[in-house]
Symmetry: C2
Subunit: 526 residues, 2 copies
């Protein structure tokens, strides 16, 4: 029997508050440090590992976290979720993004449909469509192949798919599965659409309009923008556009689109990269086989997340260490720092996935909670960040826990040897060095050159950023967010906090304002 | 007589701690809210305004901030800086980035040179060079014009120039001053250089190598990467490369470069966008006139920063409100949210400028401080962010102060009317709505739909993001950071916190490690 209890009502909450955190500079030094790095490691999917040796935990803290996992019924709640219980209680919806990439439990039927079959069907329809576009069976009016795919969407319909595209672009080129260049239009700023349209050959471009409801203001506005451009170029817009939407949306059966692929209310935008939202653009860009491998990696990681033993469950473990850092050690922000240029927009995607899911002040029953919930999340790729904000991470007055990601091999494979090492070796040497620098610090008589150490980080290490590894990485963070939401007892799957701004913006545009809003409107010349 | 005192040793520190912050939801409501928006506004350069009506300050708090400005001798310290006193005491260097765009005070002589004359000379040399490239007087070996410029640099040699390039790319295209496409190689990840090289026509590309010392590992590695590619293409690298470096660096007089342009030790990387570091790539991309306008905007803002009246000084006022929020109200992070897609990388640049400058735990004498200093800074353009992390900003358990930026007009001017408003109007309506939503909130019986309000923001409003406005915007934030550093009594112009990681990385590459570092090296296959 699942019980949804506030974090601070659990016994383990009090125990965790009392558990002393380890002195990283000590435990990470010398031979004990070496042993720790070897021991504090959990396998992830796609041959990756999650290593948490440089986190401020020890057997004692881990024992309390184990108890917390049990008390908070994390495994049971995950099981309930993938078996189709209504976990998004606020909006009275199931939460089924894991089902887009595999079936972990019971058959899930909703709206009279087997949902796994539905998601697979959409994936197959997209695959078939993409193959026809690639083979030239579907062409523009002049009978020429499409060379570019442009995603029109915002938030979850933009950040995730864009981050995934960038993550695999070079890999696909190297592996000869690169089919079409992808571009993205998201912002209602007219310069966003105008700039993208100015950079492509519209006659050979396929546009993917993504809006679950079919009513997202930014997306519909940008669609009109694109249709105008197509018309001006003498083209028939309906021969250049597909829709990704829900079956009940006005876009679903419109003649305005070559085809429509479906998602549903059980997939939140920020969790939709493995649904048709990511599927259409990624299958068109890289071919459906690459997208299938991406799903495979995610499914494999989802399976690991179901392990009840905390120490064998990298997603749950990462989640609980994060809770310990946030609620007991009081760290207000988290940095995600991938040592991979291809993951340049991965932190921006996680920023949405994490902050939109767990940036809540009330529990799932609408009652205020008495503890902090989701942290601020930010990040940029290393080594770039080292020459930027790492100063504060090393010597600032606040401690910022870090999540590193590194791969043994590059994607393209072209490299150069300078001073006896390749660029790839330099990249990896830097991330290894940073973990130890943050954890152990360095004494110096000149306090300006002293490093306190004691700054926690973990690292995910993989062989190479390929489609499967990317899927696993994405699912890892999605599952981490889910488990943290369970501990905090918040509904991680709604986003009521985005509504008020929309309402007020409409009021401004209708000129129905007064007071401060009216003066701001005048200052901005609306 | 200037005295460098810790913030908490000032009388105004105690007064500020006692000053009650205003209840935003109250003061921003109704007619008083309208009055407040009209009153709490300061002119900036380039016709912009800084509006702080939605910050938690009132006449009382502002009076204490005025006292703080006096007590901390902010104007005197700025004057000392631009008159050439050694403000970067740790590294025993002058701090002269303002001098790259104007002369506010005395002639500054260092190393036997009039520094203003030196910076102007470099600007003119770059202008002359750029004109020759544009006119075809300087060409590749085949006598063909260069079409692309590629900046090779990291940290301050990358983030600032890249953000400025993206900010003006569309403007320049619209105003027919767009000369060359720019690309950037920064990361030591070999895939970064390989991907950029794969996307350009190297035979028509000019590379700008930027390294003050001429020893930055990432940059020299990427230079070799590029030279390899040029060689493989049968090209003479020295006909495709220029250097931006200090006169004493090994790059300064090398035959490997077509030309070398100079910066010096008095310009920190993160403050170098207005020096040759930004000058070369921006002048080649947009023409020297555009770069000159950019400098003009910055110089105009620097002048405003010298105003002694806090309420007439937008940079100092923004700085002190930030200090109030950080030290007295206890907010650990700040979001910069430009409602302009062209400013997509501006927050990443500010992230470096701010966090690397003021993420310090010791004062300028190397003594630990007993108060928090620089906050975590992050941001993405609106309206994109609204569909991403704004949930946490509206309803999360921590309050995150916000800095909005908005422009009345778009850069390209192409627009579309949907539901009686243009995209540009929608963009502006959204930022106006967000300010009021954050400040005033909205009650609701369902606490999940309730907005507490009381979340502070300010907004900078301009006519259009043009070169002059961009310069003013950049200088505003640079000056804000400088003033905050003065209050916190830290040295904002060194970055000792980045050293340890470099040292340890070298040790890894030399295989001179043991303990934890050795095991991480093995895990990463180095």
């Amino acid at each position: 029997m699942i019980e949804w209890k506030n974090f601070d009502s659990l016994e383990s909450y009090g125990e965790l508050a009392k558990a002393e955190c380890v002195k990283l500079a000590e435990v990470m030094s010398g031979e004990s440090g070496a042993e720790r790095v070897k021991a504090y490691s959990v396998p992830m999917a796609a041959g990756m590992v999650y290593n948490y040796a440089a986190k401020q935990v020890d057997e004692n803290v881990l024992a309390v976290l184990k108890k917390l996992a049990k008390e908070a019924q994390l495994s049971e709640k995950y099981k309930a979720l993938y078996n189709g219980e209504m976990i998004n209680t606020g909006e009275k919806r199931l939460v089924l993004h894991q089902l887009t990439r595999g079936q972990l439990g019971d058959k899930v039927v909703a709206d009279g449909t087997d949902k796994r079959a539905f998601y697979v069907e959409q994936q197959e329809r997209i695959a078939e469509f993409a193959k026809k576009v690639h083979s030239g069976e579907i062409t523009n009016a002049a009978g020429e192949k499409f060379t570019t795919v442009v995603q029109i969407g915002i938030g979850g319909s933009d950040l995730g798919p864009r981050a995934m595209y960038l993550a695999l672009e070079n890999w696909a080129k190297k592996h000869n599965t690169f089919k079409m260049e992808a571009k993205f239009i998201s912002n209602v700023d007219p310069d966003d659409a105008a700039a993208v349209l100015g950079s492509i050959d519209v006659a050979h471009s396929m546009f993917v309009l993504v809006s679950k409801s079919g009513t997202t203001l930014e997306t519909l506005t940008n669609e009109s923008f694109v249709k105008d451009a197509l018309k001006k170029a003498g083209l028939d817009a309906s021969k250049h556009m597909v829709a990704v939407t829900s079956e009940t949306s006005p876009l679903a059966k419109s003649d305005d689109y070559l085809a429509a692929f479906f998602m549903d209310d059980y997939i939140g935008g920020r969790f939709s990269s493995t649904s048709a939202v990511g599927g259409a653009v990624l299958s068109l860009a890289f071919g459906p086989e690459v997208f299938a491998q991406f799903l495979e990696g995610a499914a494999e990681e989802d399976k690991l997340a179901a392990k009840e033993d905390l120490l064998q469950n990298p997603d749950m473990l990462d989640a609980l260490i994060g809770v310990y850092e946030r609620n007991m050690l009081g760290y207000p922000a988290t940095a995600v720092l991938p040592y991979s240029q291809a993951l340049s927009r991965f932190p921006a995607h996680l920023q949405q996935a994490d902050m939109e899911s767990n940036g809540k002040s009330v529990n799932r029953f609408g009652e205020p909670v008495n503890y902090v919930t989701g942290p601020v999340l930010f990040g940029e790729p290393g080594t770039n960040g080292q020459h930027s904000f790492y100063q504060l991470l090393h010597q600032g007055t606040d401690i910022v826990p870090i999540q590193f990601v590194g791969f043994k091999n590059s994607q393209i494979g072209t490299d150069v040897v300078i001073e006896d090492s390749t660029s790839q070796q330099k990249l990896c040497a830097n991330v290894a060095a940073q973990i130890v620098a943050f954890a152990c610090g360095k004494d110096d008589e000149n306090l300006n050159k002293k490093f306190e150490g004691g700054r926690p980080s973990s690292i995910i290490i993989g062989e190479q950023l390929n489609p499967k590894a990317l899927g696993a990485l994405l699912a890892h963070f999605e599952n981490k967010i889910m488990f943290q939401g369970f501990v905090w007892n918040v509904n991680s799957f709604d986003q009521e906090g985005v509504q008020l701004g929309k309402v007020l913006a409409k009021r401004v545009l209708a000129h129905e304002t007064d007071g401060a809003l009216q003066v701001y409107s005048e200052l901005l010349n609306i």
